[in-house]
Amino acid sequence: MSNNEAMLADLKSIIKPYIQNEEAFAKLTEETDFINDLKINSANLVDIVLDVEDKFDIEIDNDSMDKMLNVKAALEVIQEKLAVK
């Protein structure tokens, strides 16, 4: 598994408890939107960010968090924060 694939797998396991649409989760792509597609309660986005911080041992600032609305953006933020670690 490449680094990117491993990161996506980790992200999927983090968001799984919060999703309300199993079907969209099953065919998740980089374009999948957390709220519109996965029907995640917007309040839970902060919990996802905290889980991501714990998993990757990074800190995600509020501005970066605001961007994390879909899979692609989330992966980009994680990569960016890992790079400056």
């Binding site: 309040a43 919990d47 911080e53």
Partner: protein
């Protein structure tokens, strides 16, 4: 013309029984739910006994989703949702797919999520506010329990939480009763819940109002009306009742447990002997008399009273107030029992749990035993005699029960429940 209001469903989470069946069995047998808690002793509490309902992890998952249980730490919401959802289902009502604008909830609480709040306070003080997560507000807001219930059941009428110390549960019932009487709702899920443990009970222990003489023998610790009562035993849990307009209940052929025929809430204003913690007896008597008048009954029609009776020095005063308010003495006085003898004082949940117990007596025609009062307080014996306090289960027709609760802040509530007759 006011609507008639009946009870069509109930649920209960009590220290001596979770669920109606277990609770009814404990009620009839006089089984205590009071236990010794070593962690209270370790923390230096004088009173190390109390009543905490037993809820398994498995049981939690029958009511809450895995997502709801992530970082969940709010006893009032836990107990209240179990009792509330049970009552709703017991009433034969479905979980609404769409918002039900005819149904609401008034579900009281003394506090919400004190343990969760403690975690949050430590987090904030540790400069980790950004890591608190999303659920601190929902679990610690006073209305947490009604907010969770509203979502679980799809309630679209009034959804709120009342709070009036140990009168909370009784007040919630009467607030729901008012709302249905006025035609503003068809169904109101009413009840209350109370949390437990050192952070809730510590303040009472500090006031020295809890008994410290029964740590070795917990079951004998809660002694309402006893000559050897030395303070109350703290408890927790939740009680819930589905109140419904008679029209609605009949239209869907619901089981009717009992009817509410009257009630009263008032306060003593912390005057004439009333204080933050002690009752103004004039107000207590007035509350009882107003409830009886509201119900349109004679005091002699009351079969049994479920008192507030906590096992403090105020029990003889309460009996005196009932006797004076009803103008009944000795053998003319109704039976009177104290649920707190087996559950401890469930604080903000007491009024609703005791309302459930009161209604069960009407539905199943029995008067439950009040334990630990065989050595009756002499002042109580002088007023009403020994025979009026059942120490064993009495099986007899029960038509009318008067239930009262009194709370810090000098607040009072009294409900009159009656066996339902379609006339």
């Amino acid at each position: 013309m006011k609507k008639r209001v009946v009870i069509t469903g109930m649920g209960v989470v009590a220290p001596n029984g979770v669920g109606l069946d277990a609770f009814t069995a404990a009620l009839k047998s006089g089984t205590s739910g009071i236990e010794f808690y070593p962690h209270l002793k370790e923390l230096g509490f004088s009173c190390c006994i109390g009543g905490i309902p037993k809820i398994s992890e498995e049981k939690k998952r029958e009511y809450f989703t895995e997502l709801q249980l992530r970082n969940f730490n709010s006893a009032s919401i836990l107990y209240g949702c179990i009792a509330g959802v049970d009552a709703w289902k017991d009433a034969g009502l479905d979980i609404n797919e769409e918002t039900d604008f005819d149904s609401g909830t008034i579900f009281g609480a003394g506090t919400s999520g004190v343990e969760r709040l403690r975690e949050a306070i430590y987090g904030v003080d540790d400069k980790k506010v950004r890591r608190l997560g999303s659920t601190v507000v929902a679990q610690t807001m006073a209305s947490g329990v009604s907010a969770y219930l509203g979502g679980m059941l799809g309630l679209g009428n009034q959804v709120t939480t009342n709070s009036s110390a140990c009168t909370t549960g009784t007040e919630a019932v009467l607030m729901g009763y008012d709302r249905i009487q006025l035609g503003k709702a068809k169904r109101m899920l009413v009840g209350s819940s109370s949390e437990d443990g050192p952070y809730i009970w510590g303040g009472f222990d500090a006031m020295r109002v809890l008994t410290r003489h029964h740590n070795e023998k917990p079951e004998s610790g809660s002694r309402p009306m006893s000559a050897t009562a030395t303070g109350f035993v703290p408890g927790s849990g939740a009680g819930a009742l589905v109140l419904e307009s008679l029209d609605s209940a009949l239209a869907r052929n619901a089981t009717i447990y009992a009817e509410i025929i009257g009630g009263s809430v008032n306060a003593g204003g912390q005057r004439n002997g009333g204080t933050m913690t002690a009752p103004n007896s004039t107000a207590v008597r007035r509350c009882i008399q107003d409830a009886v008048a509201d119900a349109g009954i004679e005091p002699t029609e009351i079969d049994t009273i479920n008192g507030h009776l906590t096992a403090t020095i105020k029990d003889p005063t309460e009996i005196q107030n009932w006797a004076t308010a009803l103008d009944l003495k000795g053998d003319d006085f109704p039976y009177i029992n104290a649920l707190k003898s087996t559950t401890g004082h469930c604080l903000s949940a007491s009024g609703s749990i005791e309302s459930v117990a009161s209604v069960l007596q009407i539905k199943e025609d029995f008067i439950f035993p009040s334990i630990n009062s065989e050595d009756l307080h002499p002042e109580i014996e002088a007023l009403i005699g020994k025979e009026r306090i059942p120490h064993k289960l009495i099986k007899q027709t029960v038509n009318i029960v008067a239930k009262a609760s009194f709370g810090f802040g000098d607040v009072n509530g009294c409900i009159i429940f009656k066996k339902f007759k379609n006339e």
